[in-house]
Amino acid sequence: MNLSFTTTDFFALKPVILLCLFGLGILLTDFLIRDSRYRWLNGLTALVGEAFVAFAVWQHHVHLSEAGRDVVALSGALVIDPFSVFFNWIFIASTILAILISVRYLEHEGEHRGEYYALMLFAQAGMAILAQGMELVTLFIGLELMALSFYVMVGFLRDDRRSNEAAIKYLLLGAFSSGLMVYGFSLLYGISGSTLLPEIARAVAERGSSDPILLLAMVTTSVGLLFKISAVPFHMWAPDVYEGAPTPVTAYVSVASKAASFALLLRIFLVPLFDLSELWIPFLGAVALATMTIGNIAAVTQTNLKRLLAYSSISHAGYILLGLVAGNQTGLNGISVYLLVYLFMNFGVFAVITALRREGEAAEEVDDLSGLMGRHPGYAILMLIFMLALAGIPPTAGFYGKYFIFLGLLEAGQYLLAIFAALYVAVAAYYYFRIVKVMFLSEGQQQPASLVLSRGITLTAVVAGVLMLVIGLYPEPFIGLASDSIRLAMR
C-alpha cells in the first residue's frame, strides 16, 4: 500500500483543506477586529473562503468531465465523483446563504463573534468529507466534525436558555445515535475485515441477505443515519433543536446537515448494503411512511413557526427517503432534485423568519406573521411562493422533487406508498396555508409584523424566491444538473 501523500490526494482533499484553513484563519483574524461593528468582516472572510472552495469543487467537476471516470484518492478513502461534486455544491450554497442571513441576526442578538463563522466552515469541512468519503472511519470523522460544530452553533446564544437546552439535547441524543452507528460500522468491519466501502460490499454480497448479522448491522447503522435525517422514530430532537437554535443555524441544520446526512445514508445503502436491498426497502419504506405521517400530522397543530417547520422538515425527510425506497434511477434523481430545491425553499423561509426577529422578543409564532401582506407585500409574496414550493404545488420548483419521487415509486410498483405520499401533500398544504392565511387573510388584530431586514436577508429571500419560480417554470437545466449525480451502481 502506498502511504505517501500524492497530488491526487491533495486535489481530492482541497475543499476540506481550504475550509479548515479559512476556519482557522477566521479564528485568528477575529482578534484583530477590535470594534464589534466590524465583525461582519469575519463573515466576508468566510464568503471569500467559499469562493475558493467553489473553485476547487469546480476543478473537481472539470476533471470529472474531462477524465470521464471517478477519482480515487488516499488509498480509496476519498473519491471524487458526480455524487461528491453535487453534494459539495449544495453545501457551498447553503453555507453562503446561512452566512448571509446570520450577520444581522447575530448583531441583533449581541452574540456576534468570529468563531461562529469558523464553526460553519468546520461543519462544512465535515460535510465535504461525508460527500467524498468511501471508508468507514473517514466518514465517521466527517460526521463527528460536522455534528460537533453544530452542537456548539445550536447553543450559540449563551444567554438564551432554550438555545442551551437545544444544544444539550442535540449533543446527548446525537452522541447516543453515533454510538449505535459506530456499533453497526464495527459489525460491517467484522464481517469484511476492511473499512473500505467497496470491500464491505463484496463481503456483504458473499454472505447473502439471509444472514442475521447483516440484518443487525443494517439496523444499527440505520439508527444513526435515521437520527441525523430526523426520521421517525428518531425525530424527537428536531422540534426542540429547531426551536431553540439561532434561526440561521436552524436553517443551516435543516438544509446542510440533512443533505450531508443523506449523502452518508445514500453511500452506506447504495455501496456496502446495496445487495441487501430486499431487506432495507421494506424497512425504509415503513420508516418513510411513519416519518411522513408523524411529521405532517404533528405539524398541523403547531403554533410556533420554527417547530412547525421542524415537523415539516421531518416530513420532507420522509419524502426524500421514498426516493431510495423506490430503488430506481428515477427515485434517486428525485432525491437530488428534492435536495436542491429544498435547499432554496427552506433558506427562503428561514430568511423571512430571521427578519421577523424583533428587539428583545422572540417573534416566532405563526401569528406574528399576521398582516405581513399589508406591511411588506414583497416578503409576503415570497413567503407564499415558499409555502407553495414546500407543499409541492406547481408552478414552483417544489413540485419537481415530488414529481420524481412519485414517478420513481410508481415505476417500482409501490402504489400504496405513492398514494399515501400524494395524499399527505394535501395535509401539508393545510398547515402551510395556515401561514398563508395569517399573512394574507387575517385582519391584523395585533400590530402588523415589522421586519428586521438587511441586504443579506433580502438577497437570500429574493434569490430563493426567484429560483423557485424559475426552476418551476423552466426546470430543464436544473434537472440536468441534479440527475445522475446519485447512481444506483456507485461502487
Binding site: 401582506m373 407564499l384 407553495l388 404545488i393 406547481p394 408552478p395 413540485f399 414529481y403 412519485f406 414517478l407 410508481l410 415505476e411 405513492a418 398514494i419 400524494a422 395524499l423 401533500v425 394535501a426 398544504a429 393545510y430 396555508f433 392565511k437 394574507f440 387573510l441 423552466y474 426546470p475 430543464e476 434537472i479 440536468g480 440527475s483
Partner: protein, 525 residues
C-alpha cells in the same frame, strides 16, 4: 397571429395582471378601469377563435407545440376543439362579466382582487387549451391559489373555512390525478420507449391491464368528480359558493365546475375507454349522478339562504351533466356539454341576482325578502328569465340541454331517465318557490321599501347572459354543429362502431375524406 392565437388568448389576462401590479394601489379607480379593459380585451382576442374555427373536423385546431422540458417529455402543447371552444368562449365572457360586476362590491384591496382574477382567468383558459397532461396539471394547480384568495379575502363571514376546504378538496383530488398521469406516462415509456405527456400519445398506450386501467380511471375521476362536484364529493361546494364574493361564485359556478366535466370528457373517458364502459363504472357513476340530481334538488328546497340554494342547485344540475356523459352516446355527451355551457350561463345569472340584493341589504336570508317585484321591476324580469332558464323552460337554454341529455339517457336506460325527470320537476319546484318567496306578494319587510332597481352597469352585466340564454334556447344548432364532431370522436373511442350499429351516419366520416384532401397533416384520419 393565427398560429399563436391560443397563447395570445391565455396570456392576455396574465400580461394584464402584471400591468395592473405596476399601478400604485391607492389609485383604485384606475385599477378598476384597467382591469375591466383587460377583461374586455381578453374577450375580444378570443373572438377570432369563433370565426377561424373549422367545424368540419374533430381534430385539435390552432395547435401550438414546443418543447418545454425535454428530459421529461413535457411540451407546451395547446389545441382547441369544439368542446373546448365553447368552454373557452364561456370563460372569456363570464370572466369579463365577473370582473365588471365587482365594480362596487369590492372596496378593499382592490389591486390584489383584480390581479387574482386575471391570474385565475389565465389559469382557466390554460386548462381548456392544454393537450399535454403535464401542462394541463400545471394549469389546473395554478388556478387553485387565486381562487383560494378570492374566497378567503373577499368572502363572507365563514370565508376562511370555505377557502381552505375548497383548496384542500381540490388539491387532494388533483394529486391522485397526478399519480394516474404519472402511471400512464410510465406505461407509455415502457411501451414506446420515449417520454411524452401528449394526450394523443398517451391514448395509444395499450399494455395496461384492465384492472389497472380501472384504477387509473378512478384516479382521474376523483379529481374531476370533486371539481364537478359529484355526490359524495360535493360538500366543499355549498361553503365555497356561499362564502365567495359574487364574482367568485359566478366564476366557480360558471367555469370551475365545468372543468370537472371537461376533464371527464377530454381525459378520463377517452384515455381509459375500457374502464369507462365497464359495467361497474357506468353503474356507479349513473347512481351517483342520480343521487346528486335528487339530493341536490331536495336540499335546495330546504335552504333558508338564497345563495346556498343556488349553490345546491348546481349539484343537481351537474348531476344531469354527468348522467348524460355516462350514457356515452352522442346525445348524452353533446347534451352534457351543452348543459354545462347552459349552467355556466344561467347559474352565474342567479348568483348575480343574489349579489345585487346582497350588496344593497347585506343579507342572503330568503325570509328577509318578499315582494321585491313591487320595487325592482327590471330586476324581477332578469331573475325570472334566469330562474326559468335554470328550471328548463322551453325557449330558454336549459330546456335544450336537459332535453338532449334525457334523449341520450333514455336511449341508454329508461329508469335513469325516469329519475332524471323527477329531478327536473323538483328543480322547477325549488326555483319557482324561491321566486315566489322573494319576488311576489306584498313587501313584508319595511327595509325592502327603499331598494333601488338595477343600475345600468348591473344591467350590462346581466344582459349578455340573458341574451345568450335566449340564443341557445331558440337556435341551438350552431352549438350542436360545433360539438358534433368532437363528441362523435369520443363516442367512437369508447364504443367503436357505435354509429354503424345504431344506423346513424357517422359524423367523422366526412372528416376522413377531408383529411385526405388537406396535406398539411393537421387533421389525421
Amino acid at each position: 397571429m393565427r398560429e399563436h392565437i391560443l397563447s395570445i388568448v391565455w396570456l392576455t389576462p396574465l400580461v394584464g395582471m402584471f400591468l395592473l401590479i405596476l399601478i400604485p394601489k391607492e389609485k383604485k379607480e384606475l385599477i378598476r378601469l384597467l382591469a375591466n379593459i383587460i377583461g374586455f380585451v381578453g374577450f375580444l382576442v378570443s373572438l377570432p377563435l369563433v370565426f377561424w374555427f373549422d367545424m368540419s373536423t374533430a381534430e385539435f385546431q390552432f395547435v401550438e407545440r414546443l418543447d418545454w422540458i425535454p428530459s421529461l417529455g413535457a411540451q407546451y402543447h395547446l389545441g382547441l376543439d369544439g368542446i373546448s371552444l365553447l368552454l373557452v368562449m364561456l370563460t372569456t365572457v363570464v370572466g369579463f362579466l365577473s370582473i365588471l360586476c365587482s365594480w362596487s362590491a369590492i372596496q378593499d384591496r382592490v389591486k390584489e382582487y383584480y390581479a387574482m382574477f386575471l391570474l385565475l382567468q389565465a389559469g382557466m383558459l390554460g386548462v381548456f387549451f392544454a393537450v399535454d397532461l403535464f401542462l394541463f396539471y400545471v394549469f389546473w394547480e395554478i388556478m387553485l391559489v387565486p381562487m383560494y384568495f378570492i374566497i378567503g379575502i373577499w368572502g363572507g363571514t365563514r370565508r376562511l373555512y370555505a377557502a381552505i376546504k375548497f383548496f384542500l378538496y381540490t388539491l387532494a383530488g388533483s394529486v391522485l390525478m397526478l399519480l394516474a398521469i404519472l402511471a400512464l406516462y410510465f406505461k407509455h415509456i415502457e411501451e414506446f420507449g420515449f417520454a411524452s405527456f401528449a394526450l394523443e400519445d398517451l391514448m395509444n398506450v395499450s399494455i395496461i391491464p384492465l384492472e389497472m386501467q380501472i384504477w387509473l380511471f378512478w384516479g382521474f375521476f376523483i379529481a374531476f368528480a370533486i371539481k364537478v362536484p359529484m355526490f359524495p364529493f360535493h360538500t366543499w361546494l355549498p361553503d365555497a359558493h356561499t362564502e365567495a364574493p359574487t364574482a367568485g361564485s359566478v366564476i366557480l359556478a360558471g367555469i370551475l365546475l365545468k372543468m370537472g366535466l371537461y376533464g371527464l370528457v377530454r381525459f378520463s373517458i377517452p384515455l381509459f375507454p375500457e374502464a369507462a364502459t365497464a359495467e361497474s363504472t357506468v353503474q356507479i357513476i349513473a347512481v351517483l349522478s342520480i343521487i346528486a340530481i335528487i339530493y341536490g334538488a331536495l336540499v335546495s328546497l330546504m335552504q333558508k339562504d338564497w345563495k346556498r340554494l343556488v349553490a345546491y342547485s348546481s349539484v343537481s344540475h351537474l348531476g344531469f351533466c354527468t348522467l348524460g356523459l355516462i350514457a356515452l352516446n352522442p346525445n348524452g355527451i353533446a347534451g352534457a356539454m351543452l348543459q354545462g355551457i347552459n349552467h355556466g350561463i344561467s347559474t352565474p345569472l342567479l348568483f348575480l341576482v343574489v349579489g345585487i340584493v346582497y350588496e344593497r341589504r347585506h343579507t342572503r336570508m330568503i325570509a328577509e325578502y318578499g315582494g321585491l317585484a313591487n320595487r325592482m321591476p327590471v330586476y324581477t324580469v332578469i331573475f325570472a328569465i334566469s330562474m326559468l332558464a335554470s328550471a328548463g323552460m322551453p325557449g330558454l337554454n336549459g330546456f335544450i340541454g336537459e332535453f338532449t341529455i334525457l334523449r341520450g339517457v333514455f336511449e341508454q336506460n329508461v329508469y335513469w331517465a325516469g329519475f332524471a325527470v323527477l329531478g327536473i320537476v323538483l328543480g322547477a319546484a325549488y326555483l319557482l318557490w324561491l321566486f315566489q318567496r322573494t319576488m311576489l306578494g306584498p313587501i313584508t319587510n319595511p327595509e325592502n321599501e327603499k331598494l333601488k332597481d338595477m343600475n345600468l352597469r348591473e344591467i350590462c352585466v346581466a344582459l349578455p347572459l340573458v341574451l345568450w340564454c335566449f340564443w341557445i334556447g331558440l337556435y341551438p344548432k350552431p352549438y350542436f354543429d360545433i360539438l358534433e364532431k368532437p363528441v362523435a370522436k369520443v363516442v367512437e373511442r369508447v364504443r367503436p362502431g357505435y354509429f354503424e350499429r345504431a344506423g346513424i351516419p357517422n359524423p367523422l366520416d366526412a372528416t376522413i375524406v377531408r383529411a385526405e384532401l388537406t396535406a398539411d397533416g393537421v387533421a389525421k384520419p
